[in-house]
Structures are given as structure tokens and as C-alpha cells.
């Protein structure tokens, strides 16, 4: 209930906002899946010559004033004695090439969407402290941040759906035990709870291990609220006269559950899913930011943001803020989505 109010009336022109939100999310998820092909470099490819390099300028007009259809760029060279200040070396132009083969032994697909000839590098969103391409790391990082949120929320809602349906339909001591336990889980601030669970698990893990661990922990921590809501929906549907009537006509428990009760609960679960995913994306980012999620060199938006804890980085190199911008967009889009699902449900019901 509380959550529903939050997202009410996010943006006025509903259709447009829905299309924008869904489009944005689809683009990001596809980007994350296709990171191997879309990212010009691997997430761990360093270029110590170009640390904190600003986003490259793509040019269409050369020094002679001639216009080129194919964009090109110049190599940036760090000014001696002025770290972080780059000047273009106009001696040679490097045109942007598409579908370029990657050198062997690098992370990612064998053919990349775009790239430039070595020794030039194409840093569309700049580089970080080790000269790693921000765009590539953003795409690879989205894999961790976006999918851990999705999987964890899916896990939490699935657990919640199961626990809620069982508690609501079976009732009795099982209901009592489940509901009291859920109150315990809700009695803790979620980040504290998350940290507590994380605290007792091993700290040094391989990236895939810590990714799965994070998903499991988030899912295990978050089942309580969906469970209570689903139980409420099950109970309210169960108490309705139409359920009583269906039983009177000879409907079995299974029939009633399938035809009358679960359709209500699934709607609730779906709304919860749309609200939990962004919360869990944020949770993953927070955990990785605090050094409790995936570890370097594997990127997550959280570890990328961790560099900004040194405030001079943010002040001098604004392109490092990209993960924060995308993160905000993701959360906003999910909120919009949740709002639409909730409205649809209400319209269908009343």
C-alpha cells in the first residue's frame, strides 16, 4: 500500500512515459547482454598512457576543412607536467571502423561493433584511473548490476509468493510461523540486514561466486514483504463469496486456488517485482560500493562509483558520473513500470 502511493502520478502522459521507460530498460538490458560485442574493449584492458582521459571527440571535418562521412579521431596525449590534461595529436587521423576483429586473448567477442586502429583508442565516455574504457566497463557492469537486481528480485518474489500462498491458504501454525518470521525480517533496516547476512559469509570470492552469493542473499532477505502482501491477497480472495460459491458448486481446493485466488496474488507479486528490482539494483550497487560485492577488476556500477569517494575525482573528471546517471534512469523507469502495472490491476479489478 505504502509503495503504491509512492509511485502514483509519476509522469502525466502515461503512454509516452511507459514507452520511454520500457525502451530505456530494454536498451540497457540488451546492451548488457551484448557487452562482448558492443564494448570496444574488455572491462579489464588498461591503458596506463591514458588515465582519466576525457571522452574522445569524434570529428567529421579535418584540419583542411574537408568533410568526412566516416567520423575520425586523434590520439590524445597527456600534457607533460599536467596530469589529466590531454591534447590531441593531429599528426594522424584514425577513422572509426565498424565490425572490427579484436586482438586475440582479450575479453569479449572476437568481432566488435566498432573500434579504431591501434595505437589510437576510442574512449567514447572517457577512462578511469587505470585508463580503462568507461563505456566498456559500463556495459559489462550492467551485467552484474542489472541482472543481480532482476534475479534477486525474482528470487525474493518467488519465495514470497510461495510463502504467502502457503500461509494464506493453509493457515494455522504454519501461517503463524511464517508471518512472525517475516515480521522479524521487516523489523530490521534492510541495509543493516543485508550487511549482517553478508558479514557471516566469506569475503574473498571469485566474481561469479560473489555474484551468485549476492543474488542469494538479496533474495533471502527480501521475501518478507511480498509474502505478506501475497498472503493478504490470498486471504481476501479466499474470504470472498465467489470462492465460497465455487466450493459450493464442487470446486476443489486446487481449482479455487488456480481460478480464483492466484490470479489476484500474481498481480500483487508482479507489482512487487517491479518495485523490488530497482531496490535490489541499488542494493547491489551499494554493496559493491562498500567493497562487499563483486571485486575488481570485474566492474559493477557500484565499484565504478567507488572511485568517486575521492571527491577530487568527481570534481575533475565528470564523466566518471555515468554509472550514477544510468542508475537513476533505471530506477525511474522501473518505478514508472510498477505504476503502470498497479494501475492496470486496479482498472481490471474495480
Amino acid at each position: 500500500m505504502i509503495r503504491g502511493v509512492i509511485t502514483r502520478g509519476v509522469i502525466t502522459s502515461r503512454r509516452v512515459s511507459l514507452a520511454l521507460a520500457a525502451g530505456f530498460l530494454a536498451l540497457l538490458y540488451l546492451g548488457a547482454l551484448g557487452a562482448g560485442f558492443l564494448a570496444p574493449y574488455g572491462f579489464d584492458e588498461q591503458d596506463r598512457e591514458h588515465t582519466y582521459a576525457p571522452p574522445v571527440r569524434l570529428r567529421f571535418r579535418d584540419g583542411g576543412g574537408r568533410l568526412h562521412l566516416r567520423p575520425f579521431l586523434y590520439i590524445g596525449v597527456e600534457k607533460p607536467g599536467a596530469p589529466g590534461v590531454y591534447e590531441e595529436d593531429r599528426a594522424r587521423a584514425f577513422p572509426v571502423r565498424f565490425l572490427v576483429p579484436a586482438p586475440p586473448g582479450r575479453t569479449g567477442a572476437r568481432v566488435r561493433l566498432f573500434g579504431v586502429e591501434e595505437p589510437a583508442r576510442i574512449f567514447l565516455l572517457g577512462t578511469d584511473r587505470f585508463g580503462r574504457d568507461q563505456l566498456s566497463r559500463l556495459l559489462y557492469g550492467a551485467r552484474i548490476s542489472l541482472f543481480s537486481g532482476l534475479l534477486a528480485a525474482g528470487l525474493a518474489v518467488a519465495l514470497g509468493l510461495l510463502a504467502g500462498a502457503v500461509a494464506g491458504f493453509r493457515g494455522g501454525w504454519l501461517d503463524q510461523v511464517l508471518m512472525r518470521t517475516s515480521e522479524l525480517f521487516l523489523a530490521l533496516p534492510w541495509l543493516y540486514l543485508l550487511l549482517a547476512v553478508r558479514a557471516v559469509l566469506p569475503l574473498d570470492l571469485a566474481p561469479s561466486g560473489s555474484f551468485l552469493l549476492l543474488v542469494a542473499v538479496l533474495g533471502a532477505v527480501g521475501w518478507a514483504r511480498p509474502a505478506r502482501l501475497v498472503r493478504g491477497a490470498v486471504l481476501s480472495a479466499r474470504g470472498r463469496d465467489y470462492v465460497l460459491a465455487a466450493q459450493g458448486f464442487g470446486g476443489s481446493d486446487g481449482y479455487v486456488l488456480r481460478r480464483h485466488v492466484l490470479p489476484q496474488a500474481v498481480g500483487v507479486a508482479l507489482t512487487q517485482l517491479a518495485l523490488l528490482v530497482p531496490q535490489y539494483v541499488l542494493a547491489e550497487v551499494a554493496m559493491s560500493f562498500l567493497g562487499l560485492g563483486v571485486a575488481e577488476p570485474v566492474p559493477s556500477w557500484g565499484t565504478m562509483l567507488a572511485e568517486l569517494e575521492r571527491y577530487d575525482v568527481l570534481i575533475s573528471y565528470q564523466w566518471m558520473l555515468w554509472p550514477a546517471v544510468l542508475l537513476t534512469g533505471v530506477v525511474l523507469s522501473y518505478h514508472t513500470l510498477a505504476e503502470h502495472i498497479r494501475e492496470r490491476l486496479q482498472a481490471g479489478e474495480v
Binding site: R240, D241, A245, G248, F249, G250, H260, E349
Partner: protein, 547 residues
């Protein structure tokens, strides 16, 4: 405000002329809701406005003090309060009129008072905003107004919160609030709709008293002619936004000129009394209930358990083509009884014999096989139909569960028989009207060809003409489907007109059983007498006028 009142005797306190109101729909089109209505109310006069729901009577009540919602607009006409034109006044000017010039008595006293403010304060507040007196004086005025409402202890009422008062007390408070600034005009929109009969009678008597004492011009709005008959001197009948008839009450009620008025006034015609089942008349016994009990345990958090006997040993015999009404106050156990009889709740003791077989003793599985033969038509159709279903789905469901043949065909036939055209078949349940949902419930209950049909308050929330239609439909259906009809109602009048026999429930027992006419004439048990009295008080006034 009082100083705005003009002394001229010739001017009526309230004059409505040629008033038309439009509402804007979702697509921006304007639809007329009230068209060219006009009436006047003199001092000390009560005018009754009669009409079905949706006829525009509430819109009229809102339009007079300028309270139309944002999508409503007065498009034509005038409303004069003591000669002063109200249409076109600014919101601020209207705020001065409301409460001081026109008092409003709300429809739903349970909802009309702010739950977190003491009711005395809510009355005093009206004095404060209109007269700008010091709070102490305002409270004195409020206490005076409350004292006039016939409370035994106005002091307690003053300091109470709404939830601490009964429905009747709350309605008296809203009347006090409407009258505290002594407005010349009072509008009461269905002031008794949510109250039970005895309290309604008291409230109406109070209103009549106040009209006389303060020379009020009262506009009383109701769908129930009996309510108007109690106090209105003149009656206006509205239909579809227009006035179809108006005149002195006696004239309109005794010789309605318009056929619509006649249909509103026509009471349910009792069926021929002989075909009601008489337990001694040799008709085969279908349902035989003996010593049925049901106890609910109420459990409060941190409180002791409390056992409530909803049924304390009910004995009941129902013939195969009976038409039996179960009546009783709310809480007398009648809903529990039909739910137990329809096997939707498990009784704690006793026997329910259907054709000689005791259903209570049957194992679960066998009982489930009997259930489709005992159908309950639920009281609230909105709760008894899954909002995700279409009308056809709802009727088909029982047949699907019973694995019957030709479901679609039969469902459409059933819908037709209860008066639902096939065009409605695919319409989602939430988009049906109240009357249509009720018909759909009937169709669904008949789908399994039950031997007994139980109806829980089948007429609540329906207008009088609709009640008549549904009652006639029930009789038709009984004739063609041959089931025993058991009907639950709190309204003796209504139940008696349909049933061949009435059983009175009180405290979980059947205390009296008689033919409706006998019961009305000579109730033996105190509980029956109470019901009969309540029915008579309103009916008596009606009868006095009509017959």
C-alpha cells in the same frame, strides 16, 4: 446569514426555477442530468423529492448550495434563497450561505462527521465560521442546538467522538450541525437510508418537529415513498432529470397522474396465499432441520475468547415447493442459518435432513456431491461474483465444475430466463449494473438445478420498481424450475409480500412461524412484535395516505 433574510412574507425561503445541470463525461461531452426543474418551499413546509437512484435528485440537492463536483455545472435557471440569487455566486460567497442560509443533513451519518474531532466541536465550528463569535459562545450555541435534538444527555454527546455514538445519535448530531445557525432552509438527502426502521421513524419525527418549531423550509429527498409520507406536505416526483409530477402529498400518493409515479408506489403484490407451503397440508417434506447449532469464537488480541451462539438449536421444516421467509433483526442468526443449510458452513450440532438423509453426518466427499442441489444467492452480488469473469463465465462455472453438457447453450438460456439479453454475455462482471448482477447470481444459482434456493436479503440496494421485478421473476422461476424457496430478510413487509409463510428468528432460535397476514395481525413472540411494530410505523403512514 440572518441579516440577509428579507422580512417580506411573500418570498418563499427557497425557490428553484428552470434549473438545469450538466455533467461533463470522460470524453469532454456535456450530458444533462437535471433539466428544467422548478419548485418552491414555504416556511414551515416540508417538500418531498421522490425518485429512483440516478434520477438527479442528489444532483439537485448539491446544485442548490453550489456543491456540484468539478465536472458539474448549472447551465440554466435560478435558485433563490429568501429572494437572493445563488447561481453565479463566488465560492467565498457560497461558503457564507452554506450552513447559515441552507443547512445540509447528510445521507450517511456514519461518514458525515470527522472521526478525529469531538462532535460538539464540529457543531460549534459552524457557528464560529459564520458568526465569528468567541469559541466559548460558539460552544454554548452548539450545546443548545444539541439539547434540542432530544438527547438524554447532551453533555456526553458534545464531548464524544463519532465512533462512540450510534447511527441515530450521529444523525441527530448532523441535524444539529445543519440547524445550529438557524438557516431558513434545510436540505436532507436520504437522511434515513442507512438507519434501521425504528430509528428512521424517530429521526423523521424529529425533523417534522423541527420544521414546525423553527418554521423551516425542508427539502427531503428519498427513494422511499414511505419516508416522504411520514412528513412531506407536498411531493415532487423526478425521473431521468425531469419532474414528472408534483402536488400535495395526499393527491400524488392517492391518485398518481403519471404512470411512473404509480409504479413507484405500487407495493409488491402478495402471491395467492393458498399455494404457500403449509407444513400440515400433506405436501412432501423436503428439508427437515433439527436442533441445528453453530457457535463462533471471537478472539481478541490479548483478550479472552468469547463464544457466541449464532444458532442455538434451530428446528425447521421446508416443503418441496415452499416459499418461506426467515425474518429477524440483524444478528439474529438468519444469515448463519442459510449458510449452514446451503452447506457453506459447518454446523456444530444438529441434523439437516434432505429427503430423509442427514447431511451433517455425511462424510466430506458425499456432502460435496449434495451441495449443488442447495444453492445460496448471496446478499452482495459484487462480492459473490469474481470481477475477472465475464457474465457468461460466471453462469458457466457451476456447470463446468459439475461436468454438465451443452454448457454454453444452457448458460445463455438461463441468462435469458432471468432477463439478461445475450448481448451481455461477454461483458465483464464489474461493468454490469446492480440489478443485472443480482439477476446473474440467480442464473448461476439455477445452473445446477437446485432443489432448494436460499436467498440472502435479495432486495437490499434495489429500488422499489426493481424489487418488484425481481420478486416477480422469483415466482416465475419457481414455477418453471420447481424448487423450494427460502428467503432471508430483515424487512417483514417485503418478505411477507413474497412468502407464503414467515419464520421469525431471534437469538439463534425460531420463535414463531405463521402466515404473513396472521403474523402482521397477531404477533405472539416479543421479537415478532418488535418487527411488526417497526414495519407498521412506516407502513401505517403510507397506508393512511394510500388506502
Amino acid at each position: 446569514m440572518p441579516e440577509n433574510r428579507q422580512p417580506a412574507e411573500a418570498v418563499n425561503p427557497l425557490e428553484v426555477r428552470d434549473l438545469s445541470v450538466c455533467y461533463r463525461g470522460v470524453h469532454g461531452e456535456w450530458a444533462p442530468v437535471v433539466e428544467e426543474i422548478g419548485f418552491a418551499i414555504g416556511p414551515g413546509e416540508a417538500l418531498g423529492l421522490l425518485g429512483e437512484s440516478g434520477c438527479g435528485k442528489t444532483t439537485t440537492a448539491l446544485a442548490i448550495p453550489g456543491l456540484l463536483p468539478a465536472n458539474g455545472r448549472v447551465v440554466r435557471g435560478s435558485v433563490r434563497l429568501d429572494g437572493r440569487e445563488l447561481v453565479g455566486l463566488s465560492e467565498r460567497q457560497l461558503e457564507g450561505v452554506r450552513g447559515a442560509g441552507i443547512g445540509l443533513v447528510a445521507q450517511e451519518p456514519a461518514l458525515a462527521l470527522n472521526p478525529v474531532i469531538r462532535v460538539g466541536e464540529q457543531v460549534a465550528e459552524v457557528v464560529r465560521v459564520h458568526r465569528r463569535l468567541p469559541w466559548r459562545r460558539c460552544r454554548e450555541e452548539a450545546a443548545r442546538a444539541l439539547a434540542e435534538m432530544g438527547f438524554a444527555d447532551p453533555g456526553r454527546i458534545f464531548a464524544s467522538y463519532p465512533h462512540q455514538l450510534s447511527g441515530g445519535e450521529r444523525q441527530r448530531v448532523t441535524i444539529a450541525r445543519a440547524l445550529v445557525c438557524q438557516p431558513p432552509v434545510v436540505i436532507a438527502d436520504e437522511p434515513t437510508a442507512s438507519l434501521d426502521t425504528a430509528v428512521s421513524v424517530e429521526i423523521l419525527a424529529l425533523l417534522r418537529d423541527l420544521v414546525e418549531r423553527h418554521r423551516l423550509a425542508l427539502l427531503l429527498i428519498s427513494h422511499d415513498p414511505r419516508v416522504l409520507a411520514a412528513i412531506a406536505g407536498r411531493v415532487v416526483v423526478m425521473r431521468a432529470g425531469r419532474i414528472v409530477e408534483q402536488g400535495p402529498r395526499e393527491e400524488v400518493f392517492r391518485q398518481p397522474r403519471h404512470p411512473y409515479t404509480e409504479s413507484l408506489l405500487r407495493r409488491l403484490t402478495p402471491p395467492t396465499p393458498t399455494d404457500g407451503a403449509d407444513p400440515g397440508s400433506g405436501e412432501p417434506l423436503l428439508l427437515d432441520v433439527r436442533g441445528l447449532r453453530k457457535t463462533y469464537t471471537l478472539r481478541r488480541p490479548f483478550g479472552a475468547k468469547r463464544a457466541v451462539d449464532a444458532l442455538a438449536g434451530v428446528d425447521l421444516a421446508v416443503g418441496a415447493s415452499a416459499r418461506l421467509a426467515l425474518v429477524g433483526r440483524s444478528g439474529s442468526g438468519k444469515s448463519t442459518l442459510v449458510r449452514c443449510l446451503a452447506l457453506l458452513e459447518e454446523p456444530d450440532g444438529g441434523e439437516i435432513r434432505l429427503g430423509g438423509q442427514d447431511l451433517v453426518a455425511l462424510p466430506r466427499r458425499q456432502r460435496a456431491a449434495v451441495r449443488p442441489g442447495l444453492q445460496l444467492v448471496f446478499q452482495d452480488p459484487a462480492a459473490a461474483l469474481n470481477p475477472r469473469f465475464s457474465a457468461l463465465d460466471a453462469v458457466e462455472e457451476p456447470m463446468r465444475l459439475q461436468k454438465m453438457e451443452d454448457r454454453r447453450q444452457r448458460a445463455l438460456e438461463l441468462m435469458e430466463q432471468v432477463g439478461l439479453p445475450p448481448a451481455l454475455a461477454s461483458r465483464p462482471v464489474p461493468r454490469l449494473s446492480g440489478g443485472q448482477k443480482r439477476r446473474l447470481l440467480l442464473a448461476r444459482a439455477l445452473a445446477t438445478r437446485p432443489r432448494v434456493l436460499f436467498l440472502d436479503e435479495p432486495f437490499t440496494g434495489l429500488d422499489l420498481p426493481l424489487q418488484t421485478q425481481i420478486a416477480a421473476l422469483l415466482l416465475d422461476l419457481q414455477a418453471s424450475y420447481r424448487f423450494a424457496l427460502v428467503l432471508v430478510s430483515h424487512d417483514l413487509d417485503l418478505a411477507g409480500s413474497l412468502a407464503g409463510e414467515v419464520a421469525v428468528l431471534d437469538g439463534g432460535r425460531i420463535v414463531e412461524r405463521a402466515a404473513p397476514a396472521d403474523l402482521l395481525r397477531r404477533p405472539r413472540h416479543p421479537a415478532s412484535r418488535e418487527l411488526v411494530d417497526a414495519a407498521r410505523t412506516l407502513q401505517g403512514k403510507m397506508d393512511g395516505v394510500v388506502e
